[in-house]
Symmetry: C4
Subunit: 339 residues, 4 copies
């Protein structure tokens, strides 16, 4: 078996390594998994318009996310319970991200504490499941501030528990026990029917960290996010893991970008598998894309080195596609690049 | 084998239980089964637009159908010969529906009498194959009134016998014999080339029960239905079992809703397999959806308990999707929810 | 094995009976067979709009084709070398057509003489491959007139020999030998690069029979046909057997109907497999459809009785679909019937 | 096994002959091979509008490419390392092309020298990978002029090395070694991030040969090409071998033709497999199409005779489709021929 040459390879190899329930948890989406499949398909339907005869000797993939310098407009999305996939868990992923200078977003429900993760010392944000009790949420925010996390990414698309049928079929008690063991750092209930714009306002007022709202899928909510002081809007359907039949994230990106109107940065996750996907999203107005599942497949395959390899491949693909597209820097990627 | 987690599971399990001809009768549609397949596909093509940060702690799925309070906008469609699938037949289905407070529509060609079915004491309507002889029809209507059925659902899409080729191939004499045995309560010929708006008018004038016309597929006929005093228009292509090449019901729903213009309630059946399907239909103007085949698969799997489980799953899916969509009540579901 | 219930059944059964090269000749189309497949697919994409509550006790499928009364708007298309498929050949097909009072079109390259075929005494037209030498063509026309054929159907889409690769692969010398033996009645070269509107004019002037031009696929040529005195325009791509990449016939029907503007009757063949297909074509402006391959499959299966069965099934399907569509006669089928 | 009847046949047969890595190199495209597949699919989606009753006894397929008379608007695209596929390599292909009087484009990275190839004495152009050092490029141009090449085809879509994963998986060191051995005539690095319009200007000024820019995929670049003195614009995505997600070439042809506005000839390659494909491209404004992979499959199958056969089949298909389409000459092929 040769080395992985693309992100799909990590997925195929991880399947040989992981147990059935870890695979089900990682691969699966909600209900019929229509949204899960559509996320990838939406990227594959788009076409890039290559421009030629521009000097692309030097390709600059760097960008800034809420002011933080990163090596490329591709970051690591927050994912829970990484110890399910490799004993080195989140710290390995965070170190790989730091090594490549890409944004890492630590999940509330990580398998180890956010302080341990922060030791990687790379660009980092903290994903927060805001709770009804401000004190609980506040304590977590204080820890995030102290650990050097540069923004709070509040997940807003978990108003109800997910219906992931693959997990249910595999007597998910096993998985949940494993997850319980795997999250000693901190753990908060994700399902939050009580979450409101008012509560988001309280979070915003409780910290000087910029606020990112993750899970916005409509122009209406994007406009409300800006109105409520969000520094960034993160287009996400939770990787097809919450509401099945939600549109592919790429399909709503332009609607969100238009509604935001420059009032906040826009990110997108879901279905990103290639460097070219990042270009497509940036061309449609995103400031960055985030990658979730592929990073965990890479973690399962080779720990920190696996994730380093995955991020290197994304970087190589991105540079290659930018050169063939005739764009020298992220700022050169415009709407005209995409059909 | 774990418990069924969705309605497809009942179908898969029922296939192990049922004989070949019962399966053919239940699964099959007319001719090439294009309409049969399109019914489901039309729902799966639609996308839901999730709104976030609305308090969805309390989800209210209740609604009223022609004034009758029901637990959710999903009812049990009329289906014939239930004894083909389980010895407890229609009464088991009716009891399960009553247990969950959902509308049950008893078929003329039930395997036992409408009076027996009515003992379930839930919200119930009676489906009628109107006959040329008013006396025959009238006698049935009197019985339905006496047995507490709250509306007459007159089927209008059976002007000719169905051409279901799966049945024909399996020497359908067997099936028909079984059906004959299975329908001791009452039985009327479904094929009714003589049925006209004038005859519908006679039915309407013969009872104080509200009239539902089931099998409307065009705006023109929907407008005529209102004009002729129908209290509700039921969009149906008989589950793809009558005219193959008819459109998917969901594809014509908006045309029908526009033509009705608020003058009657609108229902739809055909292809409903998920709670989310009900939301899609309601968003496009339906007051409720009805489910046929999946209920019979559930009946075949586990009698009354099977149907209870199926209805519980639909309820759970509906609540989950409403919460993730940011709608608290059926009345909150609007056109903006659906792409 | 039960009796055939639809036209596809004849095809499946004929494959068991026929030799490989007869199958290749009958099944195949030109080049990649894109047009062959599209012909059927185009019909299957269309949807019918059923109207309800109209008295359809009496369904009248009769129509007139160039004045000739026929039992339904579905006729038998001309096909060559029927002896390849059954020893009773064209006379058996013609007798079956006469038995059901449907239009039969005899091919120039029949396996027996047009006079023998005419003994069936049903409604009949003669398909003509017009030749460069007017004397040859004229002699054939005189025979057709004498044998009671009611129209000349001149094929105009064979300017070059077909490139049917299935035949070529099977050492088509065998097939051609068989075809040579099979066509003792008359035989004329189909490929006619020399054919022009001027030559068509000479044919028209040489007979009092009405002229049908078969193989028109554009509005421009349809208008020219009317201008040159054609009584009918027959939309055909030769069953996908001549120019691959030609559109499905149904896809160009409306363009042709519009160009003809009532100045001639319009027929269509290619992909008709169901009674409903005839309704779709008539709704879009055709006066009739013609069926080729399925008739030969039926001939292969059961000789005259096989073709009678196929025509009976088409009649039953047509009546059934008309009833379920709410149309009592062919004249009632209008543009509103089809989406 | 019968003789090949179409270009796909050569591909199927070559797979039996070639080793795994030669197959991977020839068959493969970049990344997910989306663009590779789309190139063929785009041609197959188009439909031709056949016109009838025009005298097509004499079909003239000849045309002129930058003034050079050729037998048909289908040429041989430049391809590298032909010795990987057959020991007779490029000279065999060039002789076959000369035999049929079609344009042959010799690759810079041929397995033997351009002077050897030129001995075939047919219509020929030279494909050039322009280098940073004008002296290197200039020396090659002088040789091309001396060897009678009629135009310089400068490839402009290789700003970065290709990411062809099939090759990478097969330890491409083997392939590259073979390629090194296979290219004794001349060899230049294809990847050229430094290539600019300015450098193209220097090439143009250094020779009296007309300049063709190969690898243009946008109207913007096509307009720039004309502005910079290109005699022809060649629409190409390098056979799906450079930027995956680039559109199918046929999909951008009309945009390029419009931008060129008659100021240069336009060619297209990628996905051409049938004579009808050439007609489609010409109808949309191309002056010619070029064929790459199929020629190499044919070379692998039968050396010079294999390529002769492939070109003969294309010629036969082209003549056949022109006749059935009712066009006598290449100049008769117009926009109305294609849907």
């Amino acid at each position: 078996v040769s080395d992985p040459v693309n992100l799909h390879d990590f997925c195929a190899r991880a399947r040989d390594t992981l147990g059935e329930s870890a695979c089900a948890y990682l691969d699966g989406g909600a209900s019929d998994e229509i949204t899960l499949r559509e996320n990838e398909a939406a990227f594959q339907r788009r076409r890039l318009r290559p421009r030629v005869l521009r000097d692309v000797t030097d390709i600059d993939t760097t960008t800034r996310l809420l002011g933080a310098a990163v090596a490329m407009p591709i970051g690591v999305a927050p994912t829970a319970y990484n110890a399910l996939f490799h004993p080195d868990a989140e710290p390995a992923v965070a170190r790989a991200a730091a090594h490549r200078d890409v944004m890492y977003v630590a999940s509330t429900n990580s398998s180890c504490s956010m302080e341990t993760i922060a030791k990687a010392e790379g660009p980092r944000w903290f994903q927060l499941y805001a709770q009804e009790d401000d004190a609980v949420t506040g304590a977590l925010i204080r820890r995030a501030e102290a650990a050097g996390y540069g923004a709070l990414v509040v997940t807003v698309d978990t108003a109800a528990p997910a219906r992931r049928e693959r997990d249910t079929r595999l007597s998910d008690s096993d998985t949940r026990a494993a997850q319980g063991n795997a999250a000693p750092g901190q753990w908060l209930e994700a399902a939050a029917p009580f979450l409101t714009w008012e509560l988001i306002g309280r979070v915003r007022d409780s910290t000087s960290l910029p606020l990112v709202l993750k899970g916005i899928m409509t122009g209406e909510d994007a406009a409300l996010a800006v109105e409520h002081g969000a520094a960034a809007v993160w287009v996400s359907n939770h990787g097809g893991r919450q509401l099945d039949r939600a549109p592919a994230t790429l399909e709503v990106l332009e609607e969100v970008v238009a509604a935001v109107g420059g009032g906040a940065e826009v990110y997108v996750d879901g279905g990103v598998r290639r460097g070219a996907d990042a270009i497509i999203a940036v061309a449609l107005g995103a400031r960055a894309v985030f990658v979730g599942r592929p990073v965990l497949y890479a973690l399962a395959c080779g720990g920190e080195q696996g994730v380093r390899d995955a991020l290197r491949i994304l970087d190589e693909e991105l540079r290659n596609a930018m050169a063939l597209l005739g764009v020298r820097s992220v700022g050169d990627i415009s709407r005209e690049c995409v059909v």
